[in-house]
Amino acid sequence: MTGTRAIVDGNEAAASVAYRLNEVIAIYPITPSSTMGEWADQWNAEGAANIWGSVPEVMEMQSEGGAAGALHGALQAGALATTFTASQGLLLMIPNLYKIAGELTASVIHVAARTVATHALSIFGDHSDVMATRATGFALLSADSVQEAGDFALIAQAAALESRVPFLHFFDGFRTSHEVNAIMPLSDDDLRAVIDDRFVGQHRGRALTPDRPVLRGTAQNPDVFFQAREAGNSYYIACPTIVQTVMDRFADRTGRRYRLFDYVGAPDAERVVVLMGSAAGAAEETVEALRRRGEKIGVLKVRLYRPFAAAQFLAALPETATSVAVLDRTKEPGSLGEPLYQDVVTALWEGRRFPRVIGGRYGLASKEFTPAMVKAVFDELGKANPKNHFTVGINDDVTHTSLDFDPAFSTEPAETVRALFYGLGSDGTVGANKNSIKIIGKQTDRHVQGYFVYDSKKSGSMTVSHLRFGPDPIRSTYLISQANFVACHQFQFLSRIDVLAAAETGATFLLNAPYGPDEVWRHLPRSVQETILRKRLRFFVIDGLAVALEAGMGKRINTIMQVCFFAISGVLPREAAITAIKQSIADTYGKRGSAAVEKNFAAVDRTLARLYEVKVGTQADAGFDVLPAVAATAPAFVREVLGTAIAGLGDRLPVSAMPIDGTFPTGTSKWEKRNITQQIPVWDHDLCIQCGKCVLVCPHAVIRAGLIDQAALVEAPATFKSAKARFRETDASARYMLQVSPDDCTGCTLCVEICPVKSKSEAKHKALNMAAQAPLRAAETANWDFFQSLPAFGRDGLVHDTVKNVQVLEPLFEFSGACSGCGETPYIKLLTQLFGDRLLVANATGCSSIYGGNLPTTPYTTNAQGRGPAWSNSLFEDNAEFGLGMRLAVDKQNQYARELVARLGDDLAAGLLQADQSTEAGIEAQRERVAALKVKLAGIDSAEAVALRSVADTLVRKSVWLIGGDGWAYDIGAGGLDHVLGSGRNINVLVLDTEVYSNTGGQMSKSTPRGAVAKFATGGKHTAKKDLAMEAISYGSVYVARVAMGGNDIHTLAALREAESYEGPSLVIAYSHCIAHGYDLSFGLAQQKAAVQSGYWPLLRYDPRRRHDGKNPFQLDSAPPSIRFRDYAYQEARYTMLARSNPDVAQALLVEAQADVDRNWRVYSSRAAMAEPEKAGSEKA
């Protein structure tokens, strides 16, 4: 096998085949299918041809609905066309799927199957999306492994062409799409051997063409529609046989034989499990293990789910089977059973076979499905009265559907190396492990498997790599629970989680620690010491960071730890491993230049001398232990539920612990102390001018300002700092405080970068300076706690029109998991400071919904009165409509409340109805009136009083904001956004414009600027960024602002306040620097400033109210360009990558981009200079 294998993941395996078998590929990013589109775009940019020698056309669309439409059109016009998608994306395609199938159009859609959002979004894998398409007429073909993802991509395409039935080829999201495995790749000749060009010709022959005109897409009446719908039946009847024929042809070519239903197990099995997808791997492994114990069992793997070939199913199921369990990786609430179960029951009934059949659910949202769970199902089948409609893998202590299983049951082959690596996202552990898999896969004939688990944070995130290497094919489609090698690449993890939980007795433990072999033992938490002793682990230590720093690698310890793994594990001879690692480095980094290669080489060469085996202590004698996940003072739900998830033990939570409807408390991120920075800002209170810029820009709300009377500081900790307040509104006794939360800071340094004050004696010393966190942590934690205990400064004590004043407003968005230095979160935080206590947020799916709402905790929080942002995420595509719905509800209920209040007819009612809520004081006064109203209503039980009580809170002004990124606003949600802006209703839109789909890894949107490289724009974007502001301005009735906090912070503040105060639709487009722009984000604000200075991002406001005063509503708020576009753009890798890779194209695009800037400036400045001829309403007849 060696030499011809490829080490790839499922997405690459499928995309490689799909790309070579198509002419038109419509793409759109959605996890976990995005990389299929990315591969297609990249191959297209590289000029790779399909098997007919032509480079496919690859087109990114604005949504999956758009991709499906383009697919449909391309197919109708005779092209071989495909697309890739998952989850909500697939749901958006459904209308076209009906059309494509109804027209018997040969095509394949490749799906990385993913959970459909219900009570919550999940990016992980199950079959709820695929099952939602089973009525469309598409054939559904399930691949169980990385190998099959490639193989079935071909089989599906050939079968579709021959049968005319379109295929949905799917494999499990993440488990297969992202699992790295060694496969036998399909060559172009393999593809040509299986694809019969006669059918390609027939497909083209059915194309719409004026040369042979036909009409398709008719509207039909009751007289004929039904008959026409039945007219294609024969194609579905023929389809399964065609699929099997293609599978046989494929087997003849490759030796890999598949059937519509593949049975594995005892020929005389009594108990059989039926399932499809990656779970088949675990099931097969379990069946083999249990058969060795003499059990008569088997597993029937469903390949072709639609059309469901009942005869072939019955033929595949052993006649001896008396008890059958059908497992579905989806849930249909209210059904008699999940889809596969129902199909199997029907097939058996119609086939007059009557074994006992039970159905169960497993593996929703990539929930682990292990041999222990498979065994539990077989055990259940052996019972006299097995549970039907069961669940497995969870503890359902509410409706008691779940099967018990023994977590200790394992079928892991002893000869397989099972290695676990705990790393930080930023330390390169995953990348190194992917390299290790490739090295072993290429250097040996061993089977390899890699699967990678990430947490929900974008900063300081932990990664866990699960690597298996062995002599036999690896079908273990589950995480490693019994490892014989565990590496912890970050010492601090030892005090947060039990990294040795999965280590088996006698395993090897490799630790990266800042301690030598003689001292490391005493720095281990007690329970870690106990585990090492109890499990008799071999223990190795290396100071990887020291080696990395010496080699010029910064904090990247990946290569160093990789060398350690090979040196200790013995997977390869040491010298051979080092040679292979260096070759791999040269392959990986070579095109990044010699310096990158040489530094990695230096790291390799320095490693082994610093790797030590530790002589473990004789007893666990540490005086400290693993820290609790959350403080004991946290609320019970946080402690018991969220805390369990934070500790990485969420799988243990029973059903009863979960909210029934996806509703969670806010204010929980403050309990998730992550302690991820090595440096924090330190305040020089003598130098500080109290401008508030640091507080404004802090992405994680970890630096807070406050004003307090001196008397309140009597009990302050000794190191707590304050300064005489320099505010006009405060008296002489007021003190200004600036405090950092050391456990929540991410060390991004934006606060230090923005600090405008420099020491007159030493220019590098500012009012904020970064310093090592560890020595300060205890004292600053105490100071933070004290600061938090102080009362917030009254919201009506200062006018909220300056950055200086706004800094003392309490942020109700804090400690998110966003990237360190995030350019989006400062805007959201500011929004919550200004309006948080009366804010409703409709959040489009994307970065802001992930750091805003991904469990275990949320950054949205409440003030001392318990008020705070109410937040929800509906979908990606519908956010504008979703937010408008909120506004309509609030308005309607407000109107109803006012109608009811009006009937009261007293002074309170008059106050409530005539309240001026344009100021903080006015809003507070209204709140008091509402409170009085509730008191008044308390004793009344009339229907009207009850009704008024339920809607009384809507009498206080609410601020409805629609938040989302440019992927939403410019692309998938553009239609809805346009409609909502045109509605005239009082909604506010905040577009966090990063100019790419940041959350899914930086794909091009219509906001992406000309000349920038992005995924799906590998060759650089050739068209200009859409001017969303001018689109909205064209209505004349929409408040529009384009802001950049780093360009002009007071302008940003003014725009948000004006937008909120405007009683119609408002749109604020906020420049958000982003990790996807490719530079150190500590310079994010400087880049924002440069964007404004270059004229690329002119600051503007369009306020329709100004027209009433005879003023031009259009205000251009930034100065004419003072630097060239190039001087701004070429600070960012998204532009310089193109300049490096294709300088001629980059230069041409740069010239055009500068012309864009110049032209826009001319248009804007002309518009701003226009006089408003007459006041509105003075129209003459």
């Binding site: 990389t35 990247r556 095109k591 990044r592 959350n999 995924k1015 996807a1076 490719g1078």
Partner: protein
Amino acid sequence: MSDLTTRYLGLTLTSPLVASSSPLGDSVESIVRLEDHGIAAVVLPSLFEEQIELESMSVDDDLARGADSFAESLSFFPDLKDYNIGPDRYLELIRGAKARVEIPVIASLNGVSGGGWIRYARLMEEAGADAIELNLYEIATDPAISGAAVEQGLLDLVASVRQSVRIPLAVKLSPFFSAPANMGRRLDHAGADALVLFNRFYQPDLAIEDQDVVSTLVLSRPEELLLRLHWTAILFGHVGADLAITGGVHSARDVVKCVMAGARVAFMASALLQNGVEHAGVVLADLRRWLDAHEYASIGQMCGSMSYRSVPDTSAYERGNYMKVLSSYVLKGGPVAGPPGMGHRRI
């Protein structure tokens, strides 16, 4: 008509007017334009080894930043086939220029490591450069390192590159040596075929409002020529290496001065950037007119005619020059008018 032909680095040039290392040499098209307007040779912009290293690490950092950290975004950029990190583009420029122009193309190199200097010099030679100019740009910020050590380092470097390539080697010097004449001679002995006087540096300026240090590189001014004339005149005849002047050459008269001081060639960049490449033609026409008017048969005739060794009174090139300037200034200006409130003082 006077003969403008000169020899530099063993190459025959049609005139002493050479385009100095500047953005004017960063594309083949631009180099063709320089030739079209009479420039006799072009020195390409410097290839900075440090920059290549920096770019390599920067691309690596940019691609690694945020990668493999979050399940939905395992990377943020497509991994392109080639980032053109390294000298390839530069070498392509040499090859491209050599294919299009007749004039000599002189590559320029600034290294940081011994290995880097030699590796890149060889690559430049292989790419077809007619000569290499070593741009000895170094700021000796470490007080622990002596001038002697710095000088020895440079000499070793020149010697090692000299041994590694066969094409002519020019060395572009800084004026900041305790004994420039001695340094010039030692470089000559180390293998330099030409000495180019002098490098111009990015000079940090202080933005006093922002308390920032700002890097600047302003275009040269004609008065900068004087320092170069001075040391060219002193070195002429004391070194076997050809002499070249760069910095402050703006007109035909400046070219005449350079040659009279002892330079074989005069490098021009700022004047071309300011006035356009067409300015070269103007300078050459002026130069011809001047030579004709003053009845010089050739430019070579005047080379070194006003060098230290050729003038009757050398005191002007020695300390006497300083004394003379000071005294003449006093005689001319009388009492010096200082700022208000400073009173009057005499120098």
